[in-house]
């Protein structure tokens, strides 16, 4: 294995540049190094001005998502050696406005996430000293969807979101489904109007790449298809039983 590898990193300075450019750096190729280590090496030794987000370095915080050779990846979980002999192209996540270098503006996702009401909604809250019991099977029904770390790699992989920025997007819909399937939640009808719109679940054409790139195996594509089935059943129920569909 060669002991160095080339990184081609997208640079964009909003104060100076009209559009992004590419800078090339040569970094040590170490077996245990991930792409994030290489970026930190560049920042520490080669170019202190390089901007990128990161925090936990262990696939939990969801901050370090970037495009690595055109595929959305958590750079803390993407080994450099898998790309040897290189070069490795590192770019900001697709489908988001670029603020600087590898940093993107995530405001749109945060707005959409809030709209899908990803929290437990109760019609009547129990007193604080009472608990909401849940069996392991009831937890199992939504657990996979609850593993989302809001890394937004699914948005970077979703061509529907890229083409139609109004689309709610994979993570927001998967998290809505996570709460709909939670036995303690009573907010499915509150979420229904927002999520069953054209820009909600029906905007999804099931490309399926959101599921492929998800570092936590959340399967947002599956969540959306399940929601489509549930929404269709609701519609059918309302059609057959117009007065008693509640």
């Amino acid at each position: 294995m060669a002991n160095r590898i080339t990184l081609e990193v997208t640079r964009f300075n909003p104060a100076r540049d009209e559009k992004p450019t590419l800078d090339t750096y040569e970094v040590p190729l170490r077996k245990e190094w991930v792409v994030l280590d290489a970026l930190n090496y560049i920042k520490d030794h080669l170019d202190g001005g390089l901007s990128f987000r990161w925090s936990c370095r262990m696939g939990v915080c969801g901050s370090c998502g970037m495009m690595v050779n055109e595929v959305p990846k958590l750079t803390c979980a993407t080994f450099l050696s898998d790309y040897a002999p290189g070069p490795v192209r590192v770019a900001p996540m697709k489908n988001f406005p670029v603020l600087r270098d590898l940093v993107v503006d995530t405001s749109d996702f945060l707005l959409k996430l809030a709209k899908s009401k990803p929290w437990i909604i109760r019609k009547v809250e129990k007193p604080l000293d009472e608990e909401y019991f849940q069996t392991p099977e009831q937890m199992d029904a939504y657990k996979q969807f609850s593993m989302c770390i809001n890394c937004m790699l699914c948005y970077a992989a979703c061509p529907v979101y890229g083409l139609d920025p109004l689309f709610s997007g994979p993570a927001a819909l998967a998290l809505a489904q996570r709460y709909n399937m939670d036995s303690r939640d009573e907010g499915a009808s509150d979420r229904f109007d927002i999520l069953s719109q054209h820009d909600g679940i029906w905007g999804c054409t099931f490309v399926g790449e959101c599921t492929q790139v998800c570092p936590k195996n959340v399967d947002p594509a599956g969540a959306i298809q399940q929601y489509k089935l549930a929404a269709t059943m609701e519609w059918l129920k309302a059609l057959v039983l117009p007065r008693g569909a509640e």
């Binding site: 909003p14 992004p20 406005p97 670029v98 503006d105 890229g162 790449e209």
Partner: protein
């Protein structure tokens, strides 16, 4: 009105290329899957034309068969056959994504949810083959 204190950074937005679906194989596969619907529609049209020819009598059906044997039709139907198979397989594999079936405490594996589709496909195909080849 724009709030003067609102954070309004200058950003760069990459416009998606018209040819985004050529950039990676999974996207191309998706477009081929969606495009396969055209060939499914074509197969339906051919079936309707066959029924119409049958209804019009032996001469019309022989003419229809001769038309099917032309190189252009053979090529189109060969390609259509591939895409109809691709369409069926991708559609059947979608079933476990949309339907989560639990048996007792366990979720049924994806393959088990897809399997009845394939079994039904096989039985209907075998029945049709039997009807057609019986003489």
């Amino acid at each position: 009105m724009i709030n003067p204190t609102e954070y309004l950074p200058k950003t760069y937005r990459v416009r998606m290329s018209t040819y985004w679906w050529l950039a990676r194989w999974p996207y191309l596969k998706f477009i081929l899957r969606e495009g396969s619907s055209v060939f499914v529609a074509w197969a339906a049209v051919i079936t309707l034309l066959a029924i119409r020819a049958l209804q019009r009598g032996p001469a019309a059906y022989a003419q229809f068969e001769a038309w099917l044997r032309t190189p252009v039709l053979l090529t189109i139907n060969g390609i259509s056959f591939f895409f109809v198979l691709f369409h069926a397989v991708t559609w059947f594999n979608l079933a476990p994504k949309a339907m989560v079936i639990r048996l007792g405490k366990k979720r049924l594996p994806n393959a088990v949810v897809s399997a009845p589709n394939y079994v039904a496909w096989l039985i209907i195909s075998a029945a049709l083959t039997w009807v057609l080849l019986r003489g």
